[in-house]
Symmetry: C2
Subunit: 208 residues, 2 copies
């Protein structure tokens, strides 16, 4: 790692990763910035600019080595760290994530989930044990996992986030309807907003 | 409606809507572009530029009327249309969306869901009836809903999307791991990517 890349570029890297990974899976070895641009709906010059930020893996006239570039992006994002993650709130959404979401692909390893419901606590979902939330502190102890996935009711968001912060968790992937802001907690947060893409789709459907 | 706004601005409108709606709920009547910018982590000049695209609701020195601006954005996005939506694939994620997601807020009204599982078909989830996917064509008939939410297994994505297109559905909110591209179907699509935000968070956690 050790490379410093602007946050706008960082936000685009997962998309590059996704496309390159798919190209690699299809057996594509090398791709020009023009073709990658067409594939991703960007301009070739934007792609060259972005990828130059961390060394520039393209050779003039030869394009990019798909696998090498994909691996480099994975390194920058830290996707090979497989940091430990816990999930708080095993409702429908929590359950859907435990069962279907590929945490490994995104650099994490889900190790446990927490809830309060009697039927859920003590069970295993997709091999992940579900513990009572009251045991969170003793589970974490002095070796906090890096990430917490937050799928609790909105009203519990801020309280749970500051509890997680006190435990030494470094980041929260927040699925609740209550955004976490810098004034709520000082750890790293990504608020997930389904609604934004649906509102955009609403516009597109009615546009013509 | 009838106003033509660039797609980059359109993509930012849901975020404006979210913030303005929250401010309105808190009782804020008027806000300066500077304060709105600080709240949203943008620059005042970007906000003025964006909002000028559709008439500019700010008066120099007086700021924006929060409720009026929120309603105008809702109008542009078409959030008051409450277009009909169906959901295909009642697994954990589908169930989580039916139970917890506020479709109304995003301009839609969920009217039915479809699946194949014997225990699920024939039931109601949060008052939404679940029908067998074989009855999709007869359910839709000559009056197709505007939107389909796709929460089927990845392998079924493209086939189901083109089936929905033939039925006259206008847009797909795609939650599968298989992106829908312009070469797959020609209706409007939003591919939802949880992973992008988690990969970004992965970077941020390891950054320092």
């Amino acid at each position: 790692m050790g490379k410093k890349v602007s946050s706008a570029v960082i936000r685009r890297l997962p998309r590059y990763y996704r496309y390159l990974d798919e190209l690699h899976a299809k057996g594509v070895v090398r791709i020009s910035s023009g073709s990658l641009a067409a594939e991703m709906g960007l301009t070739a010059s934007q792609i060259r600019q972005d990828l130059n930020c961390f060394g520039g893996f393209g050779q003039q006239g030869y394009g990019y080595n798909v696998e090498k570039l994909r691996n480099e992006i994975a390194d920058i994002l830290g996707l090979k760290n497989y940091s430990r993650a816990i999930l708080i709130g095993v409702g429908n959404l929590g359950r859907a994530l435990i069962n279907n979401f590929n945490f490994n692909r995104c650099g994490f390893q889900l190790i446990a989930a927490f809830d309060v419901a009697p039927g859920t606590v003590g069970s295993k979902i997709n091999n992940i044990p579900v513990y009572h939330i009251d045991t969170l502190e003793s589970f974490v102890g002095s070796d906090p996992p890096e990430l917490a996935v937050l799928t609790v009711p909105s009203a519990d968001t801020v309280e749970m986030a500051s509890r997680l912060e006190k435990l030494g968790i470094k980041g929260i992937w927040n699925f609740t309807n209550r955004d976490l802001r810098p004034e709520d907690v000082s750890l790293k947060v990504e608020n997930v907003h389904f609604d934004d893409s649906l509102m955009t789709l609403c516009y597109m459907i009615h546009e013509t």
